[in-house]
Amino acid sequence: MELGPLLIFKELLKLFSPIILFHVFWSTFIGMIIGMLPGLTATMGIALLTGLTFGMEPRMAIVILICVYVGAITGGSRSAILLNIPGTPANAAACLDGFPLAQRGEGGQAIGLAATASFIGTVFGLFCMAFFTPLLGKIALEFHSWEFFWLAIFGIVICGNLTAPTDPLKGWIAGFFGLLVSLVGMEGITAYARFSFGFDQMKGGFALIPVLVGVYGIAEVLGGMREVVLPKVRSKVGRIIPRARDLINHYRHILRSGVVGVIVGAIPGVGEDVASWVSYDFAKRSSKQPEKFGKGSLEGLIAAETGDNACIGGAIIPVLSLAVPGSAPAAVLLAAMWLHGVRPGPLLMLEFPHYIWEVTAMMIMASFASLVISLSFVRAQVKILLIPRPVLMPIVFVLCVIGSYAINVRVFDIWVMLAFGVIGYAMRNYNYPAAPLVLGVILGDMADVNMRRALIRTAGDVSSFFIRPISLILIILIILTMISRTKMFKRIMSLVKVKVKKIFGKQR
């Protein structure tokens, strides 16, 4: 049996061709620009490029999408540092310390450090991905219809809980709505067209990409055009290459944020923004100088940027092993893999055993390209930040339209995209997170088919849903996730904490 690193190296060698290198560099560059421009997110970028790469050879298309993903998350720190506006939601935490650094005239150093921390985070995440995906894949082979049903519900519940921190109920509503959206059209067991109301186009259901482009892209275009002005870049860039000692001195933060990023990434639907905030919070709690956080702390910037990039690898772990996305951009990546004939999930290791190593090799290339571009074209990239929104947003709208249309060559998809754009915009204004909706659209079919299939297998006996060990674990996790935000649970937990402290205090 060959070792993982050797297999990754072999895949890397296979990818080393001038044409792939060319695609790696332009797509990472485009990804960085998408990430940099406030209003364009990684999810939207991947969704747009999915349409653009539709006609390409599958391997080439997935390389491009992974590069856009890595590039966008890395690039988002540019505008966070220079404009105090996060390029993507994942870079919001980078604003807190990046912008004060830029105001002090250390914008270049902040950009260099953020880029290097992002690179380290991505590499950490991808190695975790290469190591844990096969392990999780083995566990996933034990999953049957009952477990897949509960997994889908767990994904929605935890995603709703974590992406709507102030009001999880709205996250769950968005998730349930997403599940229902995915069930429109012909279903997989009896081929009955649900909620089609006699329209032939509706019988095919809503395609994933138009829904995604609508919720993320169109909502962003409408929101972006509603605002009147965009602040200008004030900071000088200065020295960009980071000092080695700045990185070595903060190795603890880098390592911790890497672990946090991977764990948060592996939780269904949660994503880079949560990873970045959690990493930042952990770094602040453990810092010797917490008072410097928010005033230009290098520790804070490094932690936030390592965390969100490590999340990329973490988010791809459940994509490959369970076909459940760990973040919104990973959801689009999963959809793109389906489009290109790859079937991620428990059988991936049996059907395409080398695919994990191939994806790891692609991510290595993306992370190196991202580092090189980050550190070398800063001044050129900063100029792109000055493109006015009224010029950029209509172009994005045109790309959204053509991207949604190109997947199935149906004008109906353009209307689906527009309708979900309006829904996405309203959701954003009323504090409903979009990620659970997207996750619901992805997991809806899994929940539906597996629940009914499980009932058929047991001739209508529902007890199997509750007595199988993995199902039971998932049910407990669902209940804990749901009650963890209630006041009563918090009160009980604080009482338990006090009692435990008392017991251990007495023993001492």
């Binding site: 653009l52 539709f54 006609g55 390409m56 109920l169 709205k170 769950w172 509503i173 349930f176 709505f177 599940l179 229902l180 069930l183 279903e187 067991i189 009896t190 009955y192 649900r194 909620f195 275009v221 409408l222 055009m225 509603r226 605002e227 009147v228 006015p388 929104r389 009224p390 010029v391 947003m393 209509p394 172009i395 709208f397 045109v398 790309l399 339209v401 053509i402 249309y405 190109a406 060559v409 004008v411 353009i414 209307w415 527009l418 309006v422 009323y430 504090n431 929940a447 539906d448 629940m451 009914r452 009932l455 058929i456 001739a459 209508g460």
Partner: protein
């Protein structure tokens, strides 16, 4: 902390209740023994359960908004006028209207490049993104670029 979504939560809650009742009703009306499959394999089974879940959450949302802040504020004429005359709302409405018209023209017999470049130039000029000449040049370049990439490179017929 002030409860921000007093009015919105109440009305969205009512909308969710309405939608979920409709979903449950439609699910109930779906065939229950299609192709001799048992009732528990019926196509409306999962949609009905999800509808029930959504209904529960809609009720909680509505009741919670009432419990937190009392009866919801009614929509007053002055509020609606203030919202509609807000420059931000106007910009949003204009962008949406232009985009809707653009989508309406797609898929008809008018060439894609023409429709797209007119739409782009119109938005850029209306929202004062750039001067008319520059807007026209950018619009034409983008429209031709998109058409070439999708139509010639990926062989996708344009809408």
């Amino acid at each position: 902390m002030e409860y921000q979504f007093r009015r919105q939560d109440f009305y969205t809650g009512l909308i969710i209740i309405g939608v979920s009742l409709f979903i449950m009703m439609e699910s109930w009306r779906m065939p229950r023994h299609l192709q001799d499959w048992p009732a528990y394999a019926a196509p409306g089974m999962v949609t009905g359960i999800l509808g029930l879940g959504l209904l529960t959450m809609g009720i909680i949302l509505t009741l919670r908004s009432v419990r937190r802040q009392g009866s919801p504020l009614p929509f007053k004429r002055a509020d609606i006028v203030a919202y509609l005359t807000d420059p931000k709302t106007r910009r949003l409405g204009l962008m949406f209207a232009l985009s809707l018209i653009y989508c309406l023209f797609l898929g008809r017999r008018i060439p894609y490049i023409l429709v797209t470049s007119i739409y782009l130039a119109l938005v850029m000029i209306t929202f004062r993104g750039t001067g008319p000449v520059k807007a026209l040049i950018i619009s034409l370049m983008v429209a031709i670029g998109v058409a070439i990439v999708f139509n010639r490179l990926f062989l996708v017929p344009l809408p």
